[in-house]
């Protein structure tokens, strides 16, 4: 908490005024720094579910955010960090314009963007499901290689319409 100039946010409704009740969440941020240890996943799920539910998301919508994050973290552990359990992952959940923005930052191997995509599901085999699940559960999923190494993954989900199944919500950056 720095000593920035105070900001008075008179617009809890975002930019079009349709957002929820008078006590709607305005600026909420949850941050976690974890190690790339699969044993951490459970604790992240608990914390994220609580945060999303407290924002007013339905159990169903919160469950999708939790699943998408779990899949993304699993991929970071397995692919970016090759299974090493002691590397850092930074997790940031923030509410902006009635959207939940999930940012995951790793410092591991960058994947060529083309390799990260969902596959043909009619071919029944183990694996290759994570990216498909992430795009199904969130409104947007975007991988950005960081200039100084590692990757920033940003996923968004609308709080307005959070039970919606659509893969392209209004939350694109």
């Amino acid at each position: 908490m720095g000593a920035e100039t105070p900001r008075t946010n008179n617009d809890p409704a975002g930019d079009d005024g349709t957002f929820m009740s008078e006590s709607a969440p305005m600026n909420r941020t949850l941050r976690m720094e974890i190690q790339s240890d699969p044993a951490e996943l459970k604790s992240v799920r608990v914390e994220v579910e609580s945060f999303a539910r407290a924002l007013g998301m339905t159990e169903h919508a919160a469950g999708k955010v939790v699943l998408a994050m779990d899949e993304a973290l699993t991929n970071i552990i397995r692919h970016a960090y090759d299974g090493a359990a002691d590397r850092p992952i930074e997790i940031d959940l923030a509410v902006r314009d009635a959207c939940l923005h999930v940012t995951l930052r790793d410092y591991g191997r960058q994947a060529p963007r083309a390799t990260i995509h969902s596959r043909d599901l009619s071919d029944v085999r183990p694996g290759g499901l994570g990216v498909h699940i992430m795009t199904k559960c969130m409104d947007s999923v975007d991988y950005q290689p960081a200039p100084d190494g590692g990757t920033t993954l940003i996923m968004t989900k609308s709080l307005r319409d959070s039970d919606n199944e659509r893969t392209n919500g209004p939350c694109h950056d």
Binding site: A39, L41, K42, R45, G63, E71, T74, I77, S122, V124
Partner: protein, 112 residues
Amino acid sequence: MTDSPIQTITWEGKVAVASIAGDIDLHRSAALQQGLLGLLDEQPQKVVVDLSAVPYMDSSGVASLVKLLSRTRKLGVALVLLSPSPKVRSILEITRLDSVFTITDSKQEATA
């Protein structure tokens, strides 16, 4: 949650019922897969995976079940998933595996 995901294995004739408990994620899916595949060495005619006590599963857990499915198919062993919770059912639907697996909520039907 670091304990074995397979709580109990009970046999009803040649039907093996494996009761799974706890969240199945990357932390526990390898142990699940190993346990389930190991069960095939006992030569069951049918394997019932009781998922009623699994509140949550991610794609690594699903992968373990798919691995089990292809192995059982090769061996001619039947496989049934029993009573997946809403969240587990949901991930099976998202990955379109709900129609690939035999799923039931009836223990009687599962072990028949």
